[in-house]
Symmetry: C2
Subunit: 149 residues, 2 copies
């Protein structure tokens, strides 16, 4: 059976957000939040544009999804994010009690697993979905940035 709405489908949407970030000169990370196969929030990293370390894609997506739902808890929702969350975003996800987090690339340096943060015990986490595509975009960004400096 063909399932049109699978993890790859939604991660592609998150990657489109990451590409938009790339075009703005932002570290290319994108996110979507989904409930019942419907995207209720889209966001990409805007830390440079907004001069704000808190403007990670996940943070904006959490705020937007809660706004859409009219409540601050994201039970039943899935976050698709192109890079493993940092401890700040893991902390926000913890408070949101989100049901699922699916990420693409690992963040060996600043990911929440390395930094020591925790997701909510009810949250199911899955990594490695479209990892190659997300990593390539990040590498392309940092190579380009190095050449410009």
């Amino acid at each position: 059976m063909l399932i049109p709405f699978d993890d790859n489908y939604f991660m592609k949407k998150a990657l489109q957000e990451a590409e938009t970030a790339f075009e703005k000169g932002e570290i290319p990370v994108g996110a979507v939040i989904v409930i019942d196969n419907k995207i209720i929030a889209r966001a990409h990293n805007l830390t440079q544009t907004l001069n704000d370390v808190t403007a990670h894609a996940e943070m904006q997506a959490i705020t937007a999804a809660a706004n859409f739902l009219g409540g601050k808890y994201l039970r039943g929702c899935t976050l698709y994010i192109t890079l493993e969350p940092c401890q700040m975003c893991a902390g926000a996800l913890y408070w949101s009690q989100i049901s699922n987090v699916v990420y693409a690339a690992k963040d060996e340096q600043r990911g929440y697993k390395k930094m020591g943060g925790k997701l909510h015990p009810k949250t199911i986490i899955k990594g490695g979905v479209m990892e190659e595509e997300a990593s390539m975009l990040l590498k392309k960004f940092f190579i380009q940035k190095r050449n410009l400096n």
Copy 2:
């Protein structure tokens, strides 16, 4: 010598923010960010009012201080916060590279020390400033809430 601008002076300002949160029915946590003995950001917890788990006092204060300074790094700044930061806020403070964090009450359950997060290696942290006052306000809030339910 009398030093008018000491930790107690600024923590009192953070406590005033916490009292404002209390009056709004929010968990009473308040924050100020200071540079060169000048308050550049004031904020209090607004998670209920804004329906947003990311609306902790620290997060709003970080965004406001960066906006005031015109840059996202808070080097040279001190955050005064009435409750030990959670992992989300510790993560945001990490990214901001803030110089000093001074908190009042410990958060044994959800503080970043318990949850496993990290501040930036350049950040100096100090706890217990006006701990009694901040704890009393939090206790008063939770007792009142329990009696209303």
